[in-house]
Amino acid sequence: MAETLLSVSDLKVHFPLGKGLFGGAAGVVKAVDGISFDLKPGETLGIVGESGCGKSTLGRAILRLTKATEGRVVWMGQDMFGLDKTTLRKARRDLQIIFQDPLASLDPRMTIGAIIARPLKTFYPDLGKAEIDKRVKDSMSQVGLAPEMLRRYPHEFSGGQCQRIGIARAIILRPKLIVCDEPVSALDVSIQAQIINLLRKLQAELGLSLLFISHNLSVVRHISHRVMVLYLGKVMEIAERDVFYANPMHPYSKALISAIPLPNPKLERARAHILLQGDLPSPIKPPEGCRFCTRCPMATDHCHVVEPPLTPRADGRLVACHYA
């Protein structure tokens, strides 16, 4: 198998804002603004950042669910943006997505058996009924759903179970990559743990690659091999999981980790907290120079003028900061 499954280079997704008063474009939201990374087979990359950092748009652009403005996405040696309809369809067999809101991503009028079977029927219209039935049931038991529930409707299931249905649908085609867009954010803590464990298990069993998009750094730590931190459409840091959590290097990564309240009162009291001032700037008018300079504790005049490039460090990570 090739060393690189997915290669994203200088990907940009810009959304024009509605027309201004006299017909001119009112502005551009640079949701994703020049992101590059590679993903190996069987690898999970955690993509973290706060609202508006472009993490979901990035996932959607890779799958061509949102049109990219610039850049390249190479999937198993093929240029995704150059594919015609037929080849794109074929490629999509290997690319699946699961969403944040588990109930909203399931058709309320279809039985869950029909929902899970749908990708099979779409891609393999000649499959016999018995074979489809068998594969649906296999898929259901892999995600911990009793196959007898086949004929029930989505509203009969809890949030955690609906997420399992979404996962069963995503794995039925035996994909190579699943984009997981905040898959556990809407779930209760006890259910969140079940789904994280399930994704870990499936990843190991099926050799899946995952792009795991989340705002929760503790969750990402439990599932990712590598972590990529985004801020206003740009990569701030990419590092191996253990390297990253042991010593986050970018000032934004440090602040993010420091901001998480730890479920340990004694540690919480003893620990120093980095408090960033202000809110995220609007992605319509990101700051000049380094995107993070308006909230960065280390920023100098230089940072307000010159944007730091993403440069490799001794331990193999990439960091975009003049001073880290």
């Binding site: 809890s158 006890s190 503790s218 993010l256 340990n264 919480e268 980095i274 809110d279 909230r295």
Partner: protein
């Protein structure tokens, strides 16, 4: 641009000592709702007290009844709901108070911060009007006076350029700033008791850190009592002195926070902690999970509400509801398997 805070003085030892008379006393509170198919019980026999200067956390998953406790205590239970038991605020019963009396109490010494600041602020009114109204309606202040006090409070919750921004509409603020406006509004009447329902859940993590810091400081300065409802054990650990763990409308365990986090006694508290991913645990192994899913709104059931999901369940658990038994160290647990050592 940034301040690195040393240890945060949010927990009990750093605060003035709580005086002895409870400001809020909840006794055997139950809340039932009439739905199409009959009555369901959201809160089932909950009792607790809060004193001035104390931050009580209520933690639970969806359907645990945590928000309904606050709604009942504010006299805001929905029209199809029925409360029983007693909620006394400064010695006065809330559950049978007249709407006029409730209005008076809510405007003078009892306030609430909601999860979603956008839906709790009036989108058609400038922030100025909404803040001033609290003081003109409840304290008979003139509008001019009221606006000056409101500006002071906005500065206190660190809204930059408050004098100008008070004239903006809610949508012109960011999420974090809106939550600050909500907090300012809740503090305008200098409440003796503040309820906060998931106050940081809708916020980004760096903004959440700011708001938690702010809440901690304000509580200390005002010496108010605070009840904060959340599903996030991290928020509890950061802000609270004491915590109640709620499941299926009943209290499973209550304890001082250090005790709960160090030695959770109830199987549900233990499960909840083990299921929470942390920044310092072993990632080589799977997270411990609690099987099944929380049951949303249940009818009255016999036995322990957690029994169907409990891996230590015995026959008695489904037959007999365990009472919340006190243990030394002012803690209590409701579990047949947690036998408290004899007191005294």
């Amino acid at each position: 641009m940034v301040c690195v805070m040393p240890s945060i003085p949010t927990n009990a030892d750093a605060r003035p000592k709580a005086d002895s008379a409870p400001i809020l006393s909840v006794r055997d509170l139950s809340v039932d709702f009439k739905l199409e198919h009959g009555w369901v019980r959201a809160v089932d026999g909950v009792s607790f007290e809060v004193r001035r200067g104390e931050v009580l956390g209520i933690v639970g998953e969806s359907g645990s009844g945590k928000s309904q406790i606050l709604m009942a205590a504010m006299g805001l239970t929905a029209i199809n709901g029925k409360c029983s038991g007693s909620v006394q605020f400064e010695g006065e019963e809330i559950l049978n108070a007249t709407p006029e009396r409730l209005d008076k109490i809510r405007g003078s010494s009892l306030s609430m911060i909601f999860q979603d600041p956008m839906t709790s602020l009036n989108p058609y009114m400038r922030v100025q009007g909404q803040l001033a109204e609290v003081l003109t309606a409840h304290q008979g202040k003139s509008r001019k006076e009221a606006i000056e006090i409101a500006i002071e409070l906005l500065e206190r919750v660190r809204i930059p350029d408050a004098r100008r921004r008070i004239q903006l509409y809610p949508h012109e603020f960011s999420g974090g700033m809106r939550q600050r406006v909500m907090i300012a509004m809740a503090l305008l009447c200098r409440p003796a008791l503040l309820f906060a329902d998931e106050p940081t859940t809708a916020l980004d993590v760096t903004v959440q850190a700011q708001i938690l810091q702010l809440l901690g400081e304000l509580v200390r300065d005002l010496n108010a009592a605070v009840v904060i409802v959340t599903h996030d054990l991290g928020v509890i650990a950061r802000l609270c002195d004491r915590v109640i763990v709620l499941y299926g409308g009943r209290i499973m365990e209550q304890a001082a926070i250090d005790d709960l986090f160090e030695t959770p006694r109830h199987p549900y508290s233990q499960g909840l902690m083990a299921a929470t991913p942390r920044l310092d645990d072993d990632v080589a192994h799977d997270l411990r999970t609690i099987p099944g899913a929380p049951r949303a709104l249940m009818g009255k059931i016999g036995g322990c509400p957690f029994a169907p999901r409990c891996d230590r369940r015995i026959a008695r658990c489904t037959e007999e509801t365990p009472a919340l038994l006190p243990a030394p160290g002012a803690r209590a647990a409701a579990c047949h398997l947690v036998v408290p050592p004899r007191i005294g």
